[in-house]
Amino acid sequence: MFPTSKPDPSLLRGMTQRRLGRRDALRLGGLSAMGAFLAACGVQGKGKPGASAAPDAVAKFWNGKVKNGKLDFANWPLYMDPKKPELKKFTEKTGITVKYDEVIQEMGPWFAKVQPQLSAKQSIGYDLMVITNGMQFGQFRDAGFLAPLDHSKLPNYAANAAKSYAQSAYDPGNVFSVPWASGITGIAYDESKTKRPITKLADLWDPAFKGKVGMFSDLQELGNFGLLAAGLDPAKSAEADWKKAAAKLQEQKDAGIVRNYYDQGYVDALGKGEVWITQAWSGDIFQKNVSDGTNFKFVIPEEGGTIWTDNMAIPITAANPVDAITLMDFFYEVENAATLAEYINYVCPVPAAQATMLKHAAAQTGEDKEYLESVANSPLVFPGEADYAKLHYYVGFNTAEEQQDFSKVFDPIVLG
């Protein structure tokens, strides 16, 4: 499972691709002075496909890097107990202080925000970030923005991580990232308003909920549900399918059913009654219910939901990579993985944590015990085979052009 063996096939494909527009640029040799000046403003490409997977990349990056006793961690909201018990424990144990910022709310904006700094080889102010396995993961990876991980510094990961993650399509062998948590995109709803249980994707198209349906503004999340609603499998879809899905989504929008396209803000909208039924991420709803005493339901639709993985990765310009990788490994200690999942209620990448949770439950009484048992047995935290059968993976892209095409198909819906 170690990284050096073979580069990702998509990287190879990327390498053999002609760099877009090069020849066109040469053809324009006789430009006017103005044109030449305009042309001189070209944006440098950062694509160095395959380079980071080179055998010596790991050594090259990690040589001479030492522990600095501090690190800055960029994460999503609702991804840790606000009291941050795990980080306190980490500081006690290692002496490394962690600055934890909930600054990531959607992948697109996050990539756009840090891309200029990374291109300029400047620090982005964070040593560790949690990024989803979508389109932007590929962009981070292919642009050479992610530090290759030194797996000799990740003993707990090797011992405790679920083996299936090493075979992921987006980062085979976990060369650049290790999972923070996986999650399921399904439907959340307020039964007191919908007056009936929600079971399928078609409910998101139900005119009875006109103006009260929330969808995600993240193009992949939105596209996935469009594809699933149209009876297509995202992971195997191509451009013609995307257009069908887009038509389906456009119809939903034109009928006035969609209230808005949300990022992380959908939780707030659900809480305020702005939407009654919405695309949602599994753990968020659970946490909202715990923290605000609400009673929202989360369901994986009959047609299927999607599963994604949020991954810890170290930006190539990180100032404190050793501290960052130490924290990465810390979350693979079974005990820490268990307490984290107990709070956030997302799919835990450490299978052994289930037993630990049950142990925690046994030590408690009453409501606390019930709560911990329910988490340990929740299919949203430790999904079984049957659950996985209902889940789909993200649309996979082979080239940057495909990604752009995908964006072009779905962007006009969100930006209507």
């Binding site: 403003c41 070209g42 600055k99 840090v114 200029p116 700094q117 990374l118 102010g125 605000d292």
Partner: protein, 281 residues
């Protein structure tokens, strides 16, 4: 057109002012107050919810009175950092833009020179361009040059949009400047430099100061241009923008309230001090 007549002090309520009155005065009075109430309503809501005692993460329904957020004002380190970043950028950018803007304003008000028209034009464009375009075009500049975004690019941007405002304020004062004082100084043998420092600068100081205040206010409130040029630096408005999606903590309301109160106090004091100057308009 008023030049041909003697410039009457407009603020004095001369009897002839009556002639402007077209009836419905009471209606207009009530209407004015209604409009003011409308303007103030969201501010009151902001202040009120700084005293709210919400149970969960979401401060959106009234759940009881508390003063605790004033005590825990700095309990959220990232919010505090954002506020500090905002203040730092505002101080630095208002000072730089004051220095640069004063130069332009003075030159435009005092001299006739080739290029004055072009300078005027650029300033006019800088004031009337949409913020969105200024912010995004700066982003393209930084991206094309391979410059990473952060505190420096942010400050550069803030100086950029403040210069023209400072220059306009200073120029307005320079135009009304009595040249005789400078000439008297020169006649008494002062060098150009001494005249500037000892005579002109002190006269311009109030205008420069209002320029600084204006630049400071523009900077601390700016969202659009900041959003394009800040990279990962969080300023107070950016932090608020990011947090709306996950629930604004009451501390934001408290900070907003405090900024409001301090701003109002400064404005009132500045206004009282500049009272005698009002006649000039």
């Amino acid at each position: 057109m008023t030049q041909t007549l003697t410039p009457a002090p407009a603020t004095q309520a001369t009897p002839s002012r009556r002639r402007f009155r077209i009836g419905g005065a009471r209606m207009m009075h009530i209407y004015t107050w209604l409009l003011i109430a409308w303007l103030v309503l969201p501010i009151l809501v902001m202040i009120l919810f700084g005293f709210n005692d919400p149970q969960g993460r979401y401060n959106q329904t009234w759940q009881g009175f508390t003063l605790k957020w004033y005590g825990e004002l700095f309990a959220l380190p990232d919010l505090t950092d954002a506020l500090i970043a905002s203040l730092a950028v505002a101080v630095v950018s208002s000072l730089i833009s004051a220095a640069l803007g004063t130069g332009i304003g003075y030159a435009l008000g005092r001299y006739r020179f080739r290029g004055a028209g072009a300078t005027n034009l650029v300033m006019f464009a800088a004031i009337s361009s949409p913020e969105l375009v200024m912010g995004s075009s700066l982003l393209t500049l930084f991206v094309s040059m391979g410059v990473g975004l952060g505190g420096v690019t942010l400050t550069i941007a803030h100086v950029m949009f403040s210069i023209a405002f400072v220059a306009t304020v200073v120029r307005a004062r320079v135009v009304t400047l009595d040249r005789a004082m400078e000439e008297a100084a020169a006649d008494l043998g002062a060098t150009a430099w001494t005249t500037w420092w000892k005579v002109t600068f002190p006269i311009l100081l109030p205008a420069i100061f209002s320029g600084i205040m204006l630049a400071f206010a523009l900077s601390i409130d700016d969202f659009v241009i900041t959003n394009f040029t800040a990279g990962n630096v969080q300023t107070f408005p950016l932090w608020i923008w990011g947090s709306t999606r996950v629930g604004l903590p009451p501390q934001v309301n408290v900070m907003g309230t405090l900024i409001f109160v301090v701003g109002v106090l400064i404005a009132v004091v500045a206004n009282l001090r500049s009272r005698p100057r009002k006649q000039q308009d």
